[in-house]
Symmetry: C2
Subunit: 226 residues, 2 copies
């Protein structure tokens, strides 16, 4: 067997393993998207059972994160990918961490929902669900950008991040006014402020992923937000 | 040359490269510690120049993060470490991300300081500097735990995290009372609430590092907080 053949065979196995890893990553992404959707739905409808389900579901996400990381290391150890192939695995490894952190924030929001309990909401939630929808879209697009190595799609994630930041600015100002007008709202308003911040952080993580994709494809470090 | 010798030589080079990586990691850690210390000092003394310096210094931290990541990939590609040695590099790679995120939070705090500007502080800051001191200690201990593979030290980081959480709970309650008593304080109080939260997140990242160290040493996944 020649060195060349060995290389080709190894490359085939590598690509198969990467395909499996990408599928798992997208599965993780869909769990995280669902977690974001459910946690905000639970908050909006004050569905405490759903909030608890989000918290309970976080273990599954942690397990999948760990599994993907293990498989990344296995691919590196057994296939010894070089240069760009190694970078592809490393990027996937990093993205997994970002996804897991997003799920942590979804859990933090669910805990706030449990704290608010059945107290009437101080305002109907409109911008918070909008932030959540945008964040979900960003997660999906960032992962698609990775799989397709699509620079334009990665840049689109950065644009949505700006919109999430604007929405958070709006929520922040609105909640400050509500608190000033009626100090009885302060406790819940600060809870809702944190919900907004956690959604903003979720979208930051999606942006981190998009930046990683850009670095992978272009070799240039860039900052998509601010 | 025998296979065995080749392995031994590779191992020697690997250990040298890991030593350099660990030194760089500790350098990154010390920059992050300084960043936490300075950002809270700037807030406490309303030193806007220092706050700006923290923001400006973040690029240096980002560059060092990227450099360490590149070197991790280089070690993997050229030394092809197996099993536990591979895991050591992977852990260092992950820790680097945590450190960079901590520095991001320090920057977020500096931005809040700039926003507060020269408005008088609504209260003398006592617990916030305490949280910052604990966080700095946690960063240092988590990195030392990695270098020494010290399980006890890693567990100590988890204990400090509980204390940071308690301090944040205190700050939260105190600020709520201040806001309720005087709605004019609301804007600044919410800023300070976020400062508390960012410090809590910084300590969460230190705890993540400690958990990674425990996983590296014991092979067991564990959760040090909550």
């Amino acid at each position: 067997m020649t060195e060349g053949m060995e290389y080709t065979e190894r490359k085939v196995v590598y690509e198969e393993k990467m395909k499996t890893l990408q599928d798992k990553l997208q599965h993780l992404g869909s769990l995280v998207e669902a977690s974001i959707a459910q946690t905000v739905e639970a908050l909006k409808t004050q569905n405490l059972e759903l909030a608890q389900a989000v918290i309970d579901g976080d273990d599954l996400i942690d397990d999948l994160e760990r599994e993907i990381e293990e498989r990344c290391l296995e691919v590196i150890a057994t296939q010894q990918p070089m240069a760009r192939d190694l970078r592809r695995v490393a990027t996937l490894f990093k993205m997994t961490t970002d996804l897991e952190r997003m799920a942590d924030y979804a859990t933090s929001i669910a805990k706030i929902t449990l704290r608010i309990g059945d107290q009437p909401l101080i305002k109907p939630l409109v911008d918070i669900p909008r932030m959540a929808l945008l964040s979900q879209k960003m997660v999906k697009q960032a992962l698609d950008a990775y799989v397709r190595e699509d620079v334009d799609l990665a840049c689109a994630v950065g644009k949505d991040d700006d919109e999430v930041d604007n929405l958070f600015g709006q929520i922040f100002n609105e909640l400050l006014i509500i608190m000033m007008e009626n100090p009885k709202t302060i406790t819940q308003a600060t809870h809702l402020l944190f919900v907004g911040r956690w959604l903003e952080r979720i979208s930051d993580h999606a942006t981190n992923i998009a930046e990683e994709v850009l670095f992978l494809v272009t070799g240039e470090k860039c900052s998509l937000n601010e």
